[in-house]
């Protein structure tokens, strides 16, 4: 088993003909993701050639793409100016899960787009996230496939490359993953730690969970409280940004210490107080997970 995506995932790629969209569509296809459709307005009727010889039909609208192919999941690589509308188009089209990779979408656009998706009961992952991968089943987004392996760990992270780092180290010692989820570094995200923890708790194959947070906001603190109240599975946590100065945005729009709120220290304390094993260095995650798995 896995969470959010698996062998039944039928994916439509919004922005399939762009530089990033086309590159990662090929990578997803090579991994075995069922990419059933692409959407690029004005290119409907053409097809996208995957590097494995398979081709994917391109549509002008999500409505046509979903109606024709039965896609149930969408991934978005369109530029920031159009991305919030693309999320809303996906939420209107009948897919139940939308993964928004695009970075730099205006926050007020996202406030509307998240409300729109909530109104329709559609799950959004991101934006400004690397997507997710259920090893051996499906990959949606930009996570490099070669670093993952099938196994018992569920991983959720606000970061992209830091996720790769942690997954890579786990895989290197032979510990595979059920699903690795990057929830994104924006202030307003669709799927948060709690949503992922809940899903991992319900997933029989997940035996332990890695949660990678960073400075800014209080998502980690709420997740920690949720772990204590609702999780039976062991959780290992890491927080990036112990050396970040207050008041400066550290790359991610959401990674900023406001006054004295949202520090790494505060989050690590919340983890410890709620029974989450805290890794000091990314490499320490491995040892703590090995302990947790017993």
């Amino acid at each position: 088993m896995a969470i959010f995506i698996d062998n039944d995932t039928k994916l439509v790629v919004q922005g399939i003909t762009g530089r990033d969209g086309s590159f990662h569509t090929r990578q997803m296809m090579e991994y075995g993701t069922q990419v059933v459709a692409g959407v690029t307005p004005g290119k409907g009727g053409q097809s996208f050639e995957g590097s494995d010889g398979k081709s994917v039909p391109i549509f002008n609208t999500m409505d046509e793409a979903v109606a024709t192919t039965g896609a149930n999941t969408s991934v978005i690589y369109v530029p920031p100016a159009f991305a919030a509308d693309a999320i809303m188009e996906a939420a209107d089209s009948g897919v139940g899960f939308v993964v928004a990779i695009t970075e730099g979408i205006p926050v007020l656009d996202m406030a509307r787009a998240h409300a729109f998706a909530r109104d329709r009961g559609v799950r959004v992952l991101g934006p400004n996230c690397p997507g997710l991968i259920s090893p051996g089943k499906s990959k949606v987004g930009i996570l490099p496939a070669q670093i993952v392996a099938e196994g018992p760990v569920g991983l959720v992270s606000r970061s992209g490359t830091l996720t790769y780092e942690a997954v890579f180290q786990l895989t290197n010692v032979g510990i595979g993953q059920t699903t690795c989820v990057g929830i994104g570094g924006d202030p307003l995200i669709g799927t948060n730690f709690v949503d992922c923890l809940e899903a991992f708790e319900a997933d029989a194959d997940t035996k332990a969970i890695v949660m990678i947070g960073e400075i800014g906001g209080t998502d980690e603190q709420e997740a920690a409280a949720f772990v204590k109240a609702n999780l039976s599975k062991p959780v290992v946590g890491f927080i990036a940004g112990q050396t970040a100065p207050p008041g400066r945005r550290m790359g991610h729009a959401g990674a900023i210490i406001s006054g004295s709120a949202g520090t790494a220290e505060e989050k690590m304390k919340a983890f410890k107080d709620n029974g989450i094993a805290v890794a000091t260095r990314p490499v320490d995650i491995v040892g703590l997970i090995q302990e947790a798995l017993g």
Partner: protein, 377 residues
């Protein structure tokens, strides 16, 4: 992006908020001339992107134009929290009956713009929120509806008892939300919102932060950027599409991804070093970005070693490798470079670096430990 008080006031005026007049001076002469034109008492206010101007002596009341000149002379060039004051705002002094606080910002939890108002003005709202939350009335603005008149009235009703003041403040709440949205702001604040003895409600201070992601579609706001208010290296980084924050250490860091960049800084510290900067070369990168990153890092004379930590995802390792090779050809780089590089197109990247005579690590701990040792050597 932060904008100055006088710029925020322009945005407020455009939305109809009553804001007293004011003009910008960059010299004491100009300040005196402006004060003369206004007549009477004026306030001379340092324009810097920093809180605590008042405590630092950056806001002064002047009885007349000569005093305004004297204050401007003291404030211009002053250092406030590491920022040099280049401009002062000269504005007529207002008679103040009461002061209140009104702010709106994007709240993560409710995923919406949220108003905070308090009948005590001139306060640090974060402190009030932490120590005395019942002194604040909060309103989440549903992004599907925007602020509604009855909600604005509900906020205003918390600040005042007098129907006339409530009516003016209701309008100002609506106008502030309009200014917030029209400017693409992530925060807009009136602190204080005053009432005058004659029963007028006015914004005598203004603060706004703009969502950087809005700037592409708001050229008028982008034009308000004051490059003199940020370090040159950060200007250069921004223009190259890089996220960069200057720090005080000697290990220059060049990382892809904000989380990994922070974790790399943390690890530098863990191994006993001090990071010279935060630098994220971002997602979909190209060789030019790497060149720019190296130029920026090497412009800091403190940097003793340059540490690359690249984990390829949407960033392709071969792009970064090409960038490093190209940069070392184009510019003269003195500090040694240590590279860790793995992920998408890793093999092509390693081949490119090998061709150019670089060798690369695969372990993050190894590369950081090595870099820290080299910086200390």
């Amino acid at each position: 992006m932060n904008i100055h008080e006088y710029q925020a006031k322009e945005c407020f005026r455009a939305a109809g908020i009553p804001v007293p007049p004011g003009e910008i001076a960059t010299t004491p002469d100009e300040a005196e001339a402006i004060a003369t034109r206004f007549g009477g008492m004026v306030v001379v206010k340092a324009q810097v992107h920093s809180g605590g101007r008042g405590k630092a002596g950056g806001v002064k009341l002047a009885k007349n134009a000569v005093e305004a000149r004297e204050h401007a002379a003291r404030i211009l060039g002053m250092d406030i929290k590491g920022l040099t004051v280049e401009k002062v705002l000269v504005t007529p002094a207002e008679d103040i009956a009461t002061e209140a606080y009104v702010g709106v910002l994007v709240d993560r939890k409710s995923q919406a713009a949220t108003f905070m108002v308090s009948a005590e003005g001139g306060v640090d709202i974060e402190e009030v929120a932490a120590t005395n939350p019942e002194a604040i009335r909060k309103l989440t603005v549903d992004p599907r509806y925007g602020i509604l008149p009855h909600q604005a009235h509900w906020l205003a009703n918390y600040l005042y008892d007098d129907p006339g003041l409530i009516k003016q403040a209701t309008k100002i709440m609506m106008q502030l939300y309009r200014a917030f949205v029209d400017s693409g702001a992530s925060m807009a604040e009136i602190n204080p919102l005053i009432t005058t003895p004659s029963g007028e409600v006015k914004a005598i201070d203004a603060k706004m932060s703009i969502d950087d992601s809005e700037l592409f579609r708001r050229p008028g706001i982008e034009a308000m950027r004051d490059i003199s208010s940020e370090p040159a290296a950060e200007t250069r980084a921004r223009e190259a599409g890089l996220s960069f924050v200057k720090l005080d250490g000697d290990v220059g860091c060049c990382v892809n991804g904000a989380g990994l960049a922070m974790a790399t800084m943390d690890l530098v510290k863990y191994y006993g070093g001090e990071p010279a900067n935060f630098l994220d070369i971002g997602g979909s990168s190209n060789p030019d970005k790497v060149v720019a990153a190296l130029e920026i890092i090497t412009s800091d004379p403190n940097v003793k070693v340059i540490l690359f930590n690249i984990f390829g995802g949407i960033t392709r390792c071969d792009d970064v490798a090409n960038g490093i090779v190209e940069a070392t050809r184009r510019i003269d780089i003195e500090p040694p470079i240590v590279i860790r590089l793995t992920g998408t197109n890793e093999e092509e990247a390693l081949a490119i670096l090998a061709d150019a005579g670089f060798s690369a690590y695969t372990s993050m701990d190894d590369v950081v430990e090595t870099a820290v040792k080299m910086a200390k050597a």
